[in-house]
Amino acid sequence: MVDPLLRVEKLVRRFGGVLATDNLSLDVLPGELHAIIGPNGAGKTTLISQLTGQLTPNSGAIHFAGRDITRLPSYRRSRLGLARSFQITSLLPDFTAADNVALAAQAHDGHSFRFWGAARREKHLREAAQAALNRVGLARRGDVPVSELSHGEQRELELAVALATRPQMLLLDEPMAGLGATESARMVALLKELRQEVTIVLVEHDMEAVFALADRITVLVYGRVIASGAPDAIKSNEEVRRAYLGEQHAVTSHG
């Protein structure tokens, strides 16, 4: 049995009287693509925020690559190889696409208390940025300011930024959010490639994408895990059908 790359143990997070994360445990194995699904308000984003360090849990523990990271600030988690994309696109709007990615590469290339040399002329940073841009299909868009990129391109850039930190694990918070059909298909194809290289935790509403991509699926309802397993097992799980899929009528028609 391989050690899990990410282990979440009995995580609890309350907002006032509401239990947003209710005694949640979860393992993500190295190399797998683990999807987390659940109806709105199931606490998916709350969970992601605790995994990335934006939120601190009330109790429980998070282990990443054998280390307890429960109280680690987000910048330290990034250093350990935990990268994230945001549900609502979160980039540096005043910078070009290449700058965004180069800054991510720079964060993982020694310290940045260098005050004299021009950062945009550091060749290996630019090359790392270009490589990540190529990876997500933005090879020719490097010089374009983020504010002039289309929504779909910004979602791809989010991925490039995460990749440029050379992560062991990607936490993707609804990468398909707001994408059209063709853009979604491109994103699925891209994730299919990326999963060969890096462990991925995918939070997603697009059921078609989830069932096409995931090795394992964890279903959250009211902050609790009600089921976890292979896609087929999830599809046929009675509790999941009742609690979640039933509301949406059919698994695959949801988009």
């Binding site: 990034s78 945001f86 005043d94 800054l103 964060a107 940045s112 021009a118 950062a119 930024v161």
Partner: protein, 315 residues
Amino acid sequence: MKLQINVRNVVVALVALGLLLLPLYSAATGNIFILTLFTRIVIFALAAASLNLIMGYGGMMSFGHAAYLGIGGYAVGILAFEGIGSGFIQWPVALAASALYALVIGALSLRTRGVYFIMITLAFAQMAYYVASGLSRYGGDDGLTIYRRSTFGGLIDLSNRVQFYYLCLFCLFGGVYLIWRIVNSRFGMVVQGIRSNEQRMQAIGYHANRYRLVCFVISGTICGLAGALLANNTDFVSPAGMYWTRSGELMVMVVFGGMGSLFGPVIGTILFLLLEELLSQFTEYWALVMGPLLLLIVLFARGGIMGLLGRVGRG
């Protein structure tokens, strides 16, 4: 970086050239007043440029920048009063004192954001103002007269108007050059990234406040140098120079010229102090004109004068 010929760069080059040649004009026409006025302008331009580093590039709205002018000035004044006249001691002390003050104030205020940051920097600067007022040995409220300008072992004579002007100009150009290098460096990119989206920068692995703090200290140190120059220029330091209105004026100079543009604060300072000089000859209510002008710039020229020039250049 390619040098482009556009309206903005031409204006910057002309202004820089004008500043360089000003003593010649002053000598040729015998107009000493203009040299005195521009010495003051150049010093304030350095202070405004330092404020621009945190305000324009770092997104930190410090409303207490006059404190550094005062600290730099008092370092020179107090040491001179105590019989230490060498600039080789006075000036490093001025810089170190400003840096230390910035480090302490920054470490405390950078826990806050937005309006709270503005208020806390303002509060600290006002505290510095009252501390200076309480220095009874050094003149208290009335301030401290400096009877001898800093000496540099015969290298340069600060009492010579032209030499002093060029020293100030050298500091200004040096300061702007330093800021230019910083802004384009790894460090500068990170600071600007944090201004743009702090959460994102944390997520890719930057400890945002550490970079902010260092930027804050650099800015305060440069402003402390302006303070040392200003004290030598006026032969006097007083708490009044640290009052919050002075901090406000520095902010206005930066906004006039264009936040986040390298040379903007220099242009903004020239404009502000020339206007002040000009208008105060006609009326003591010169602020009545300055206010609406600031309004117009904020409403219609977000990038200040430099932003306007950029637009002229494009179309």
